[in-house]
Amino acid sequence: MAKIPRNFKLMEELEKGEKGIGDGTCSYGLSDGDDIMMSNWNGTILGPGHTVHENRIYSLKIHCGPSYPDMPPSVSFLSRVNLPCVNQTTGEVDPQKLTCLRNWNRNYGLETVLTDLRREMASPNNRKLPQPSEGTMFN
């Protein structure tokens, strides 16, 4: 199978993001619509139900480098969140601590990252972690 070039894949993902993906719990889009490199993205995760994250919306920023999708994107939270895989001072997601980033595969996409993070929030270990109040941001 031919390798899908970076921009084709990102175009595909952009369209998917605008049309709405999956069950609507995650969303993403370009942060700057004029960016022809399509490097910087916004993402949101709606906190999974029956956890401390319920009804919260977490904002993230995602950067897709030039070698995406061969290399995973770098992801960081804008909204404060207490998760083991998130650096508590910068909000960056540690690629070694998130399964999909550690075992990155070029068939993965931004949606994979967001749903994986959401799953992380719902995991039995993290679902009850005390969270900073909603609306606070990483600086």
């Binding site: 605008e18 049309k19 709405g20 319920e54 009804n55 919306i57 969270q131 909603e134």
Partner: protein, 499 residues
Amino acid sequence: MDDSDTTAPQQAIVLTIRPSSGSTFTTAISTDSTVLQLKEKLASADLPAAAIRLVYSGRVLKDDDQLSVYSIKEGHTIHMVKSATNRANEQAAQTVRPNSSTRSSAGPDGSDEQAMLNTLLDNPAIRDMMANPELVRRMMMSNPQTREVMENNPEVAQMLNDPSFLRQSLDIARNPKLMKQALRNNDRALSNLEMIPGGFNHLRRMYHSVQEPMEASRNAPEPSTDDLNERFAARLNADTRPNAGAINTTALPNPWAPPPRSQTNTAGPGSMFPGMPGMRGFNPFASNPFAMEGPGGAVRAGGSSGSAGSGAQAGSAPAFPSPFAAMMNQRMGAMNGNSPPNPFGLPGMGTGEGFPAMGISNNPEMFQQMMQFNQMMRQMQQQQQQQQQRPSQPYSQIPPPSAFPSFANMFGGMPPVTDPTATMGTRSSNISSSNTTSTAAATATPSTATAMTQSPEERFEAQLASLRDMGFSDTSRNVRALLASGGDVNSAIEFLLRM
């Protein structure tokens, strides 16, 4: 990318709205309208515009922005999320920063009680009142129970008279965080006190002299009436009152047993034992109508172990679908024809009408407890039999009568022994066991062993049923959990939830 977002004002577009629950729908709106206008359009009776949050392309839409800012185009999807409600607000209040600049749109209804307390305490009139120690003191003194406590404990009185203490406690009451801190400190102080030798006693004294009367002053005191006492006694299955003059030799009531349905006349067992030694031919229980009812009674009446086993089988013939009954059937079957029944083999089981074991099998904890008792009894029996090395004179080894009540008490602790008749059955089989040689012990152990080799599904039938009722439908997992927890439903549930 194209630049249509900047050049297409006043253009009506159709958007797909995807609520967090429910199905998607479309709505038409002009791109120069603000997000707030869109929210108002989407709002409904149970979802006000203020509670709606819209997410598009990874961004939360801000009320004041025009839709064109986000370059939303025809056919795009906006996620509609219901805003965090009271619950989330409370959670937020409990977490790291209670007073940050979070959205105030969620409404004033945070935690009502706290708010009420706050407004009450912030009321200047109340503040003035609280600042006046004399007034507070008079308020406290107006409650007779409080007054009594204060009179008995000068230190408490001093505390309640101290205005600064009162103000401090009010301040604490106003601030939930401080309140929690204070409660935690209190808990820690108490546990520290408990560690000190004698500390627990001191705490107990404090409880009795201060806390109890305080609490009693809140609830109307419940007088100890005969009627009330009787009800309590009935709950503990203690329905007979010992004679004041005589030595009480009746078995202690079994608080775990289900209440007996009908109270029959109990023959004073104390009167039976003094005559025991040397009364080999004459069996006091043979004349006891209750002893005849259970298989235990049948043992004595029949006098031969073979009939005892069959009697027990006949008695427990109604197949009750409890693991307990199944186990007992098996045990009785194993014993049939070769040995007298294990005295712990639940004589009560046999009584045709009363099936107290049913209650136990429904309650796994009780069942376990009973198994423990059973174990203990077996050990005691073995010890007893070791003492009886001379089978030619069995009755000379019978412990003095005074020892029997204590034995009977032990059996009284067994759940199935619920009514006097069953107690008599135990008693009689107890004696019959002391009549036997150590073969009884030898056979008793393997027979329980066979019970243990039953498949776990049978052994844990009741527990499995209750797990099924709770919605754990995977039987094999349930069995695994029960095996891991040793049959305890609560730990099994914990185990299942952790799996």
